[in-house]
């Protein structure tokens, strides 16, 4: 990355700059037809599933959603489904929850069950947030909590985006229990950018915009 940036900035010519960018960071969209062809050629095998996973994880929007749907339809017993579970966690359609429930119950692979359990917990929490106060909302919150607990109990050690699923579930439970609208914000104790200690609660009595930021 640093090497690329130096070379990019040293190059004055616009066309050459763009060429350098494309060679270093190819646009995944250009490779979709090739992976589509592989998926067709190796349909029904792990290679076919792998080609679809590549497309689903490199592209966004409708292409991603359609590819995930194709994987769920044609490869429901593949261990590679693990890599697309988190997309289902963010979706709002009822179908996504049906898929997650069936993978959690029936996938022959523990890592897929684990990913489905975590994604279903996230999905239901999102649904609860969009549901008006009442029994239904409470039931969704309770089920989401129970699924995060199950992740910790049954799938604690499963790797997940650079950490373990257990760690992710603990962080999500903290968010569910302490960081929802209407809850008293947890206090923050730390030092400011000049090294002076202070607390978030020092600002009680004022309206506070808390902004997690970085200069990038």
């Amino acid at each position: 990355m640093a090497k690329f940036m130096a070379a990019y900035q040293a190059e004055q010519d616009e066309a050459k700059r763009n060429k350098l960018l494309e060679e270093t960071y190819p646009n995944p969209t250009d490779y979709v037809p090739r992976f589509r062809a592989l998926a067709a050629q190796f349909k029904g095998t792990e290679a076919g599933a792998g080609a679809l996973v590549w497309i689903a994880t490199k592209l966004y929007g409708d292409t991603q959603e359609a590819t995930v749907d194709e994987l769920l339809r044609d490869y429901k017993d593949s261990p590679l489904l693990e890599q697309v579970m988190h997309f289902l966690g963010q979706r709002e359609d009822d179908e996504s929850r049906v898929h997650l429930r069936s993978l959690l119950a029936d996938s022959p692979h523990r890592n897929v069950q684990a990913g489905a359990c975590h994604a279903l917990a996230l999905n239901l929490r999102g649904l609860a947030a969009d549901t008006k106060r009442g029994e239904q909302k409470e039931a969704l919150i309770a089920e989401s909590r129970a699924l995060f607990m199950r992740v910790q109990n049954d799938f604690d050690d499963v790797p997940y985006h650079g950490r373990t699923l257990g760690e992710a579930a603990r962080a999500e439970l903290f968010e569910s229990d302490r960081l929802q609208i209407g809850m008293l914000a947890p206090d923050i104790e730390g030092a400011d950018l000049n090294g002076v200690a202070f607390k978030l609660s020092d600002y009680r009595g004022k309206v506070v915009v808390l902004d997690f930021w970085g200069n990038w």
Binding site: G182, F198, V209, L210, D211, F212, W216
Partner: protein
């Protein structure tokens, strides 16, 4: 980075009101950041998330996975809004300030 102008104008507009913009900064290099604070006229206070940057303790506890992430708290310290930026942020803050005067 595109948020600085909006934040500056928010802080300026609400000077004298019971309002504070508090940051949690996740830059790893605190020294390099000092220049940015001067250049961008960032006068509001921030916690520093520590040398681990985006993996630091405050953003980890608050389960922050995207930057910027915004929470808006009322004068009692309750979380009232998550995520609003730009005009939606102004509107949310104004609503909470108006509530205090009721």
């Amino acid at each position: 980075m595109a948020m600085y102008p909006h934040e500056r104008s928010l802080v300026k507009r609400l000077a004298g009101e019971p309002f504070a913009l508090i940051g949690v900064n996740s830059d790893k290099d605190l020294e390099a950041l000092q220049d940015v604070l001067l250049e961008e006229n960032i006068t509001w206070r921030s916690f520093w998330n520590g040398p681990e940057g985006t993996s630091g303790p405050i953003s980890t506890q608050w389960n922050v996975r995207g930057w910027p992430t915004i929470y808006i708290l009322d004068h009692e310290g309750k979380i009232r809004f998550k995520g609003p930026r730009g005009k939606a942020m102004d509107k949310a803050v104004d609503k909470l300030l108006a509530e205090m005067k009721e």
